[in-house]
């Protein structure tokens, strides 16, 4: 999804994002509003010096890897051969979200290929980046998005917080087979996603 043109941050949008923040935090993720990709790179680089980028995000936003490297990170974009091995020890991963849902604080991630999926499954900390334009109110908006794309093979995952279990005595434990920590970054700035890094 490519935002077109400059964005106007209307009062309604910001009220909606306030509600999104509350839900995201209630789901035990952290919430951040950042102006653009430069700040995304700085955020991820602040978490680790080894960062994986989902291949589909890398395709639409090649500048991110360059920016991460400029921040001193080793960047891993898993390939098709053995993607799980590629990302096995990478602590932080960045993916793009298709929608962010105010109702539940969820981010919808489309990840059809295995290389995309291993990124969200195997990292310890997952950074989900969503443009402010695709913050939607209700689960029905997700249904409409899925229905529009039905008819072809796909895998879309509505993710809400870090992986968790309560299987032992209903005691909540965070971090089971998926990430221990999730950062939701909402892009509010006006820089187009394909913008080249500034030197």
């Amino acid at each position: 999804m490519t935002p077109s043109g400059p964005r106007t941050d209307t009062g309604r949008d910001s009220a909606r994002r306030t509600r999104l923040r509350a839900r995201v935090e209630a789901a035990a993720s952290s919430y951040h509003e950042l102006p653009g990709w430069e700040e995304v790179a700085a955020h991820a680089a602040g978490l680790s010096d080894r960062v994986a980028v989902a291949p589909s995000l890398h395709t639409t936003q090649p500048a991110l890897a360059m920016r991460l490297e400029a921040e001193g990170c080793t960047v891993v974009v898993p390939g098709d051969e053995d993607p799980a091995a590629d990302v096995a020890d990478v602590p932080v991963a960045v993916v793009g979200g298709e929608l962010a849902v105010v109702e539940t604080g969820s981010v919808l991630v489309a990840e059809h290929g295995l290389a995309d999926r291993v990124v969200t499954m195997l990292c310890q900390r997952l950074v989900q980046v969503v443009p402010a334009e695709v913050v939607v109110d209700r689960l029905e908006d997700v249904a409409a998005w899925l229905a529009e794309r039905s008819g072809r093979a796909s895998f879309a995952s509505l993710m809400t917080g870090p992986s968790r279990t309560a299987d032992i005595e209903r005691s909540l434990t965070i971090g089971v087979q998926g990430p221990d920590e999730v950062d939701v970054l909402v892009l509010t700035g006006t820089d187009p996603v394909t913008e080249e890094p500034t030197p």
Binding site: A27, E140, S154, L158, I168, G178
Partner: protein, 731 residues
């Protein structure tokens, strides 16, 4: 087909394990708080009640079943278009053969499994192991059970019957290193490491499906741990097992299910991962196995077809009092909780369904939380009837049947109880039969009656005392809402013979309010005990007898709310084959009241303060479970006591939960009944009130017996008995 141990063995094992009861009580309480808060949030968010939301989802599921083949075809066509292979199978045998064959063809030597109740239903693991493809469960709870060589005891929290020290001990034994029991975090992390290796090594994966979305040919799969995502994504062959009832027409319908599923299952607004899979990923094969195994037969049976709406949230177990004592290994079969008592006979045969039937106390709690509004208690009684008719009921069933048939004859009952009254006279003390402690402290009787002192058998039933002219005229209330009104008192068979003080007190109160109280001579039993025991023909006869006895068009008032539940709720259902009878039952239901509804909001409505004698001794109130769950009564008794009687009421924790009487359950499964009673009396202790009030005679005899046997100093009174004490003194 089943590889489970016999029911009696599972029941005995569960009772013997203190972890089961202790862990489940804590679990049920925690679940209740989270679920109620989550549902309240949802109601506010949607501006609609839980009942409206669940009716909507139920309507969607019913719509699917009404046009089942069409939706199955749409799903199949769309899933195939996205590259999946879809195969419908009729039996577990076919499913197991197909899955095993495909996995062998894929060269599998290890299977990573996400949670799938259908795979449990068909016993897939055993087949795969025999074929040299060891399955590894990847859901933490399921993995724990696999290591312990056990089966799930709950639909959503499979290992909830195991406490942390047991899991730590298991891990120590299997993984050969120490695990501190309080370090759950460490146990989870170890599971992550152990399982991750398996994920990366396996070439085949299996998952269930929370919904099959016809519109997109998509599978909806929810999980919190992330394991399902891995067992779906990593292997080269992904097998999906799903029951054919899992269909939903559209993605929007799936969202309606999502809203209710997480909240009902774990109190979460949504699970961490809600995945929508359409076809295989590039480089992968996907096989979707759609299983019938009795589902078509269920759909064709109008008494149980609604059970196909089930979304496997587990809520019906989370509120179930017997489940809280024995857990799902006894309360259910492969499918546990209330739904297991309905669908087991269709998936695993009547024999598998028979044992657990006797554990349900018909409290109605499950129906109040089911997010697809399945009338579970009514369906359980339908299955129970089938069990009772079958050979599976065994000798206990034959004894029950004969006893109930004898009970149909009031003359026989009267003679029997009058004899018992004479014989037990020397033992009669304060409303109980004081059985010598030498008999109840040890030996076979201890288990059966040691925990609950039996009621005294009076020499005279209530109907004798209530004959015209025998009962002394009670003092009149200043207000006479019933002045000149004829009221037929329905005594209830149990209190008539075993607690005559209750109907007598009710008669006095009604008269004090001005009523002309009639006790119809031909009344006997509303049929509830027979209905609860699965003896529907006997129950129908008794309902008809009761309708005839109460045919006079005057109001009917009963001090037994259970009889009201029977006459108002169950009788029309029992008589559904004959519209004239249904109309008669409805006409009777329309003029029948229990005492509280008659005096608090019915024709006998008493004004505030009219029974206030100034006594301020605190009381607490047990709400008869069926009154809360089936009749929808809230805090009517508490409000009445406060407003009309001026009594300080201490709220009872879990006030509407069953006390464990449950009709025949307390006789057939006394240990279970004792466990539920113990939980109830523990709640009463927390109030520190010295008077416990309720309004169902069965509960009263049960609670009195428990209080007496445990040496507690609590007085258990029927609402009528308490109120009659507050009548003005006759001048």
């Amino acid at each position: 087909m089943s590889t489970l141990r016999p029911f009696e063995e599972r029941y005995a094992t569960a009772l013997a394990d203190p972890d089961v009861r202790g862990g489940l009580t804590a679990f049920q309480r925690g679940w209740r708080d989270s679920r109620d808060a989550a549902i309240a949030d949802l109601e506010q968010q949607e501006g609609r009640s839980f009942d409206e939301l669940r009716a909507e989802l139920a309507g969607i599921k019913d719509g699917v079943l009404a046009d089942w083949e069409h939706h199955l075809d749409t799903f199949t066509t769309n899933a195939r278009a996205a590259g999946a292979e879809v195969v419908r199978v009729a039996t577990p045998g076919e499913a197991n053969a197909l899955i095993t064959e495909r996995m062998q063809a894929a060269g599998a030597d290890l299977l990573v499994k996400g949670k799938s109740m259908v795979s449990e239903e068909i016993g897939l693991n055993a087949h795969l192991e025999a074929a040299g493809i060891p399955p590894v469960e990847t859901d933490l709870g399921e993995w724990i059970l696999q290591l312990a060589e056990e089966t799930p005891s709950h639909l959503v929290m499979p290992a909830i019957h195991k406490r942390r020290h047991a899991v730590a001990g298991l891990f120590e034994r299997v993984l050969d290193r120490p695990f501190p029991p309080d370090d759950i975090d460490r146990m989870v992390k170890v599971a992550r490491t152990e399982l991750r290796e398996r994920f990366l090594a396996s070439s085949v994966g299996l998952s269930g499906a929370n919904a099959l979305i016809a519109e997109g040919g998509a599978i909806m799969l929810v999980c919190n741990e992330g394991n399902n995502r891995m067992s779906v994504a990593l292997p080269q062959l992904h097998v999906v097992t799903a029951g054919i009832e899992k269909l939903l027409p559209t993605y929007a319908d799936a969202m309606r299910q999502v809203r209710l599923l997480g909240r009902s299952a774990t109190g979460q607004p949504i699970t961490v991962y809600t995945n929508f899979l359409t076809g295989p990923r590039p480089g992968q094969e996907q096989l979707i196995v759609l299983l019938d195994n009795g589902r078509t037969a269920m759909a064709e049976d109008p008494d149980v077809a609604d059970a196909l709406r089930c979304i496997r949230c587990g809520a019906c177990a989370d509120v179930c009092p017997p489940y809280g004592i024995v857990g799902g290994h006894a309360f259910g079969h492969v499918y546990t909780g209330a739904i297991g008592l309905v669908n087991t006979s269709f998936h695993h045969g009547i024999e598998a369904a028979a044992g657990p039937q006797s554990l349900c106390v018909s409290c109605g709690a499950c129906a109040t939380v089911c997010p697809v509004d399945i009338p579970l208690p009514v369906q359980i009684l339908e299955v129970r009837e089938t069990v009772a008719r079958s050979e599976s009921a065994g000798s206990a069933g034959r004894v029950t049947r004969s006893a109930l048939r004898a009970f149909q004859h009031p003359g026989l009952v009267d003679v029997g109880l009058r004899v018992a009254g004479v014989v037990t006279t020397p033992l009669r003390r304060d409303g109980v039969t004081a059985v010598p402690s030498a008999l109840t402290s040890r030996g076979p009787l201890a288990e059966r009656i040691g925990w609950r002192t039996p009621p005294a058998v009076p020499l005279r039933p209530a109907r004798d005392t209530l004959r015209p002219g025998r009962l002394e005229e009670p003092p009149r209330l200043a207000d006479q809402p019933l002045a000149g009104r004829k009221v037929q008192l329905f005594l209830q068979c149990l209190s008539d013979r075993l607690a005559p003080g209750i109907p007598i007190a009710a008669a006095k109160l009604l008269r004090a309010a001005g009523a002309q109280v009639i006790v119809p001579r031909d009344q006997h039993c509303c049929g509830l005990p027979a209905y609860d025991s699965g003896e529907q023909d006997t129950a129908r006869d008794m309902v008809r007898q009761t309708m005839a006895a109460l045919a006079d068009g005057a109001d009917v008032v009963t001090p037994a709310s259970s009889c009201l539940a029977m006459l108002a709720h169950d009788a029309p259902h029992l008589l559904r084959g004959d519209t004239v009878e249904v109309e008669r039952a409805q006409e009777l239901a329309g003029r029948t009241y229990d005492l509280i509804s008659y005096l608090a909001s019915g024709p006998g409505r008493l004004p505030a303060g009219s029974l206030d004698d100034g006594d301020r001794t605190p009381v607490t109130v047990h709400r008869f479970c069926q009154a809360s769950n089936t009749l929808g009564r809230g805090e009517a008794i508490e409000a009445f006591l406060r407003d009309v009687a001026g009594a300080p009421v201490v709220p009872l924790p879990e006030a509407g939960e069953c006390c464990g009487f449950g009709g025949s359950t307390s006789v057939r499964n006394p240990e279970l009944s004792a466990g539920i009673l113990d939980r109830k009396l523990g709640c009463v202790d927390r109030t520190a009130a010295s008077i416990l009030i309720t309004d169902n005679p069965g509960c009263i005899l049960h609670l009195r017996g428990g209080v007496h046997a445990s040496g507690r100093g609590v007085e258990v009174l029927h609402l009528a008995e308490y109120l009659v004490r507050r009548l003005p003194v006759a001048t």
